[in-house]
Amino acid sequence: MTIDAATVRKVARLARIAQPEETVEQLARELSGIMDWIEQLSEVDTDGVEPMTSAVHVPMPMRDDVVTEGGDPEVVLSNSPKRAGAFFVVPKVVE
């Protein structure tokens, strides 16, 4: 098995997804199944191949570095789960 229960717990923590303990073994099996299938990539000779980091070969278009919009807190806050005045209310970060 590529991914064991301990790895699932670690990755779930990194991904910030609460994973109930009773689901960990099942998820480990599913993810291992996927990773085992992905393993076939090791057959491909990629020596000296440059990784492809962009889907197109054109240079990035440039634009002037100027502010084009902004300054509207009401719009930014319009979907907030909790707010107070012109601020988002979030859980305490610093004890």
Partner: protein, 490 residues
């Protein structure tokens, strides 16, 4: 006025121009069709009042002599596109009742050109799925059924709502997106036309991100010409998306009907996979014969890394998704489930808001990007991606376009593959290569299988050569003369 919904987009635009009917009449007919088809679950939000308001404004513009390219045409919008003031969920609970304060560039372009919005279309959650079963809104049902059967079939995914709505005549055309086949596979499953343009043709601004180096918007409609008309409106450089290409958008419809004589068509031998139904192989042969009859030269080509495209995709796409979806933390918008501290609030919100497939992909993406695995998985996949793109570059030295089947099967029953992630992923075996290489790909309905379900053929072109695809798609459409429609049961 139900016959108004059976028109192609082109015929509807002609009818509007001839004043045979108004946009309000056309829109009202569609609103009624949408209401009567709720059993398909294609729309997750109907916006009839907005539609009629837009239709009235369109009729007023026409009366004043100002007519735009899509004037008065009612369309459906995939729920991945942000629409100002209109709930946009990406098929996920985590976004909740999010009402964007802005409009995506692609939909802005459609409204600029006079189109009318009927509502938002169902989809797999965050566009992750091939059967529409991962949607928080429940699966979309395919209007097609097997001859004499009544089992509920998938319309494919992730643009299942778009496909179903187009096939069932609940809009004249729809927006869709394609990250690994999400336009083309549903088009094949529903007897509709869909094109994923070259990466960068359409702006991704305002489209909820899944895998940014692969995501691309495109249209679905009931004819090749209709998709060409829609794509000309949707496409174009956008300063808000630096990956949108600074190139002119051609009048794509002008390519439909052009002669394809002398074009060289590649047939990649690696697409003859084990276990492919004989009917799909036969349809492919038929497609080759049609293009030969139209004057094309058929050339066998090799794309040796084809079999590695899906595994490479299932590293690249989840890696990008795990990064893109990190923004759903319950702080500024969407679902928040309170915990004892900040981390627990994040963990609970994301556990409650994401569905099983999205969680799987975030986990895979986080794993392959985590310390110690990055080189072995992520970097390796990017190198394999380069080899896949190189395969296409070499093939396009010899040919002008490629012809393949779109999907390895016809539409399957809802529930059939939902227990086996890898079996579900294999749906995209013929489509995903195109996303990795950034190329345009189109699915055209070509025939029915023995059980009466539609099957599509895929055309793949050079980067920015959608024009050739529209000419070839038009030739295939003419030869196939695909006229079948789903029997109305809904």
């Amino acid at each position: 006025m139900s016959e108004l919904t059976s028109l192609t987009l082109k015929a509807a635009l002609d009818g509007l121009a001839a004043k045979s009917f108004s946009s309000v009449e056309l829109t009202q007919a569609h609103i009624e069709a949408v209401e009567a088809a709720r059993a398909l679950n294609a729309y997750v939000l109907e916006t009839p009042e907005k539609a009629l308001e837009m239709a009235k404004a369109s009729d007023a513009r026409r009366a004043a002599g100002s007519v735009r390219p899509l004037e008065g045409a009612p369309l459906g919008i995939k729920d991945l596109f942000c629409t100002e003031g209109v709930r946009s969920t990406a098929g996920s609970k985590i976004i909740g009742d999010f009402k964007p304060a802005y409009e995506s560039t692609v939909t802005s372009n459609l409204w600029r050109d006079g189109a009318v919005m009927l509502g938002k279309l169902n989809m797999d959650e965050f566009a992750m799925g091939s059967s529409n079963e991962t949607s928080a809104w429940g699966p979309v049902v395919n209007p097609w059924r097997t001859t004499g059967g009544n089992a509920q079939l998938t319309p494919g995914g992730s643009s299942g709502g778009s496909a179903s709505a187009v096939a069932a005549e609940l809009c004249l055309g729809a927006t869709a997106t394609d990250t690994g086949g999400s336009i083309r596979q549903p088009a094949s499953f529903t007897g509709t036309v869909g094109i994923k343009p070259t990466y960068g043709r359409c702006s991704r601004w305002g489209i909820v991100a899944f895998a940014s180096s692969l995501d691309q918007a495109g249209p679905m409609a009931r004819s090749v010409e209709d998709t060409a008309i829609l794509l000309s409106s949707m496409a174009g450089h956008d300063p808000k998306d630096s990956t949108s290409l600074p190139v002119e958008t051609p009048d794509f419809a002008s390519f439909v009907g052009k002669s394809v004589k002398g074009l060289r068509i590649g047939v990649p031998k690696e697409y003859r996979v084990d276990g492919m139904p004989a009917e799909i192989d036969a349809l492919w042969e038929q497609g080759i014969a049609w293009l030969k009859d139209a004057g094309c030269e058929i050339v066998e080509v090799s794309l040796p890394h084809t079999k590695y495209a899906l595994p490479a995709y299932y590293i690249v796409a989840p890696a990008e998704a795990s990064s893109n979806l990190a923004r759903y933390d319950g702080m500024r918008y969407g679902l928040r489930v309170d915990g004892a501290n900040l981390t627990e609030t994040y963990e609970r919100s994301r556990a409650a808001g994401f569905g099983a497939e999205v969680k799987r992909r975030i986990m895979i993406g986080t794993y392959v990007l985590s310390a110690g695995y990055y080189d072995a998985y992520y970097l390796k996949a990017l190198k394999v991606r380069r080899r896949i793109a190189d395969d296409f570059d070499q093939a396009f030295e010899k040919v002008d376009a490629l012809l393949t089947p779109t999907a390895p099967s016809a539409a399957f029953q809802l529930g059939d593959k939902s227990d086996d992630p890898v079996a579900m992923y294999l749906n995209d075996i013929f489509t995903v290569t195109v996303n990795l290489a950034g190329l345009p790909g189109m699915s055209v309905p070509a025939g029915l299988d023995a059980s009466g379900l539609p099957l599509g053929l895929q055309l793949i072109g050079r980067a920015l050569d959608e024009g050739t695809l529209f000419s070839l798609g038009g030739a295939l459409e003419k030869a196939a003369n695909f006229r079948a429609k789903p029997q109305k049961w809904w």
